[in-house]
């Protein structure tokens, strides 16, 4: 029998509760050595120069990906046009819904496979791809499937536009695909979608799911490639609609390219969201919200709460608690179920985060990261915060798109609003206070498409999402998300 004297436990050196590795198995995914383009229901070779997609956590090459040339884009748009005029555009909404429900169910059934593949290709922790990306993506299909036979109640008409050209970013590859494809298909459009060049694999897996669901050929076409491919796609004459999520620079170029055409456009661009913490906030939950706001998905979130505005009277206490909490974040292998912060998606993005962080230091802000061991291969950046940041610092104005938080202070609600709105962006904002009336007042004052109260980074298919100012225009999600894919009331 162990004769331990119960009361002496704390005087001896204790072993630490060090979580052993708990890796999710890779065996469930089958990554092929090379992938073609998905056009008219089939995988075909691309006419461009193929490129490699890598695992950002290890720099291991995952697969060779075809590049769509201008001719390939033309073939894809033609396939989509044909599918629209012959099949999808004239199919009753009730029938379209069946396909969308089927896709949603297959996404759920193959959820673990999709989640693992997403984490491998993107670098995001498996707990996020498993608990957020995949279920929310499936939820979008379920939600819009419900709209397909009820368009007359949408307020935006029942006539589809035709062919939608969709270009999505690398931060939520599958989820952004769902945000784009689900409403387009529900409204009766066909799509040609280009995933980001660093994260094409789940979009190509989605192509397989379309085959599995017996979706008519040409309704969904996936074309891979980089900027040029995207340029050809949005510039194609026979496209009725352009939907883009990504950087403000590219969004601006797209707006220019389609200006003067009849193409309908929705743009969901960058952000520099303020997360505003008042002195009467539930502090522990606010700290969680700050962490979730900026370190969720390594900060690769357009609506990330990258500017913390904290009331000066509690700034010190909040910072202390925030630092303590940041010290418990586990950075590392994205496939480990206990990882909180994964890998930065690409060398290019890592360089940008490093550059802007260096500028923050040069401009005199106080840089802090918890001690953490980063893997030697792959692209990594520790969770970082900058204190003493003012509106005049570049790190308070430019989107870093990484796990870097700028901390600013304010004294009064009016000052909080002024500082929060003083940005060219306007995608999201967070308000933390126990006072309901203040939440409503703030929500009215803040020029941001989404205002979260006592929470952050919550996404639901029923809720519209989109920006003010340089964060873009148009809304995705909810009833509003249908507007961009219908001809309007007539």
């Amino acid at each position: 029998m162990a004769k331990q004297k119960v009361s002496t436990g704390s005087t001896t050196a204790k072993p630490v509760f060090d979580y052993a590795p708990a890796p999710e198995s890779r065996a469930i995914v089958d990554i092929k050595p090379s992938y073609g383009l998905f056009i008219n229901g089939e995988f075909v070779d691309g006419g461009g120069t193929s490129f490699k997609t890598i695992n950002p956590a290890t720099e291991e090459v995952l697969a060779e990906i075809a590049e769509a040339s201008e001719a390939d884009i033309d073939t894809a748009v033609k396939a989509a046009r044909r599918a629209h005029s012959r099949v999808w555009g004239r199919m009753p909404g009730k029938e379209r819904a069946k396909y969308l429900y089927r896709i949603a169910r297959i996404m759920q059934e193959r959820g673990r496979e999709i989640a693992v593949l997403e984490s491998i290709d993107n670098g995001k922790p498996i707990k996020e791809s498993r608990d957020v990306d995949v279920p929310v993506a499936a939820a979008h299909f379920f939600y819009y499937a419900g709209w397909a036979d009820k368009l007359e109640y949408s307020g935006y008409g029942t006539q589809s536009l035709g062919v939608a050209a969709q270009v999505i970013p690398w931060n939520f590859p599958l989820l952004m695909l769902a945000w784009k494809i689900a409403p387009a298909l529900a409204a009766g459009n066909t799509v040609v979608l280009k995933p980001a060049e660093t994260t094409p694999l789940t979009a190509l897996l989605f192509a397989e799911i379309c085959q599995q669901a017996d979706l008519p050929p040409g309704v969904v076409n996936i074309v891979t490639g980089a900027g040029d491919t995207g340029h050809f796609l949005v510039g194609h004459d026979d496209v009725d609609k352009v939907a883009f999520t990504g950087s403000t620079d590219v969004g601006r170029a797209i707006a220019k390219a389609v200006a003067g055409t009849n193409k309908k456009v929705t743009l969901e661009l960058g952000g520099k969201a303020a997360n505003i913490v008042f002195d009467d906030a539930p502090i522990d939950q606010a700290v969680e919200g700050i962490v979730n706001g900026i370190f969720f998905n390594q900060g690769h979130v357009c609506c990330a709460g990258s500017r913390l505005l904290v009331q000066e009277s509690i700034a010190e206490e909040v910072l202390e608690r925030l630092k303590r909490r940041m010290a418990t974040l586990r950075v590392g292998d994205p496939l480990d179920k206990n990882t909180d912060v994964g890998a930065i998606n690409s060398a290019e993005q890592l360089a940008r985060i490093k550059q802007l962080s260096a500028i923050g230091e040069e401009e005199g802000a106080g840089r802090w990261s918890p001690p953490c061991d980063l893997p030697s291969t792959g692209f990594w950046f520790p969770p970082t915060l900058f204190t003493g940041v003012t509106q005049a610092h570049r790190i308070a104005r430019e989107e870093i798109f990484g796990p870097v938080l700028s901390v600013l202070t304010f004294r009064t609600p009016a000052e909080a609003v002024e500082k929060a709105n003083n940005t060219p962006y306007g995608l999201s904002a967070g308000v933390w206070t126990d006072k309901g009336s203040r939440i409503l007042w703030m929500a009215n004052q803040l020029r941001a498409g989404v205002v979260w109260a006592n929470t952050f980074n919550k996404f639901d298919p029923t809720s519209p999402f989109g920006g003010y100012k340089e964060s873009g225009y148009g809304r995705e999600g909810g009833r509003h998300g249908l507007e961009g894919y219908l001809k309007g009331t007539n």
């Binding site: 029998m1 119960v6 436990g9 704390s10 204790k14 509760f17 906030a281 522990d284 939950q285």
Partner: protein, 326 residues
Amino acid sequence: MTTTPTTTASASSAAGNSFSDVTSSESALRRFLHGLPGVDQVGAEARATALGTRSIKTTAKDYAIDLAIRMVDLTTLEGQDTHGKVRALANKAMRPDPADPTCPATAAVCVYPDMVGIAKETLGTSGVNVAAVATAFPSGRAALDIKLADTRDAVEAGADEIDMVIDRGAFLSGRYLEVYDEIVAVKEACGPAHLKVIFETGELQTYDNVRRASWLAMMAGGHFIKTSTGKVQPAATLPVTMIMLEAVRDFREATGQMIGVKPAGGIRTSKDAIKYLVMVNEVAGPDWLDPDWFRFGASTLLNDLLMQRTKMTTGRYSGPDYFTLD
């Protein structure tokens, strides 16, 4: 930082003094408790759920299971308790797995005051403590002198630890000072015995109340704060325990003094117990990962921990007949 139990005991009365302004009057105490930061229910529950998704495997699981066994207050609190039952339970506490001598003992057995003597006699010098519930457990509805007599009786019979219940009626009607004074009085009656203060969080209902009760009990000198009697549903939950862990963490920040936490009731599986340990580790910090600072009030939990422990060593699950029923 590690604090030995002896320094804690003396620091505890010092802490009582450092809050003397706060506890000087009903209104000052109310101002202080109502001035604590609020708890957002949705956010707190989401955080507790997220911590529950940690995956604890292999060596970490070995460590967690042995630690959890050492943290169990093996409990029997039934009207039908007899000397025979308590003796059996005490033997189980000392040798949870007769087939495996490397299996650690539990922290304590927890019984009604009239069973303390027999428990103490059985446990002898094994190091397993005797905890007694007192103060008109579980309702707490009795006059103060009866509660104090109940406490003294248990301590005289040899209880090392007293688990008292607070007066929820007084708390819910806002008579905080009355609750405070009662805890102080019971603590005095405890003498050398350690005091655990039970809130019955299932009756306090809101997280704001749990946070206030935690500070109240810590300021009054309780060594442990405990969720429940096990007689009211819901008993211990992850979010409630998290609020209490935040309270002891913040209390140490403020006073330098460590207070223990004991969730009790409803924790039945190893998987649950490990979720609690993860929460202790990440919310209060690793210093609390010790039977001196964290306990499980449980009865059926122990056998599940033993089954998992055997599975970890042998690679096979054994049937329930391979573990003793007491």
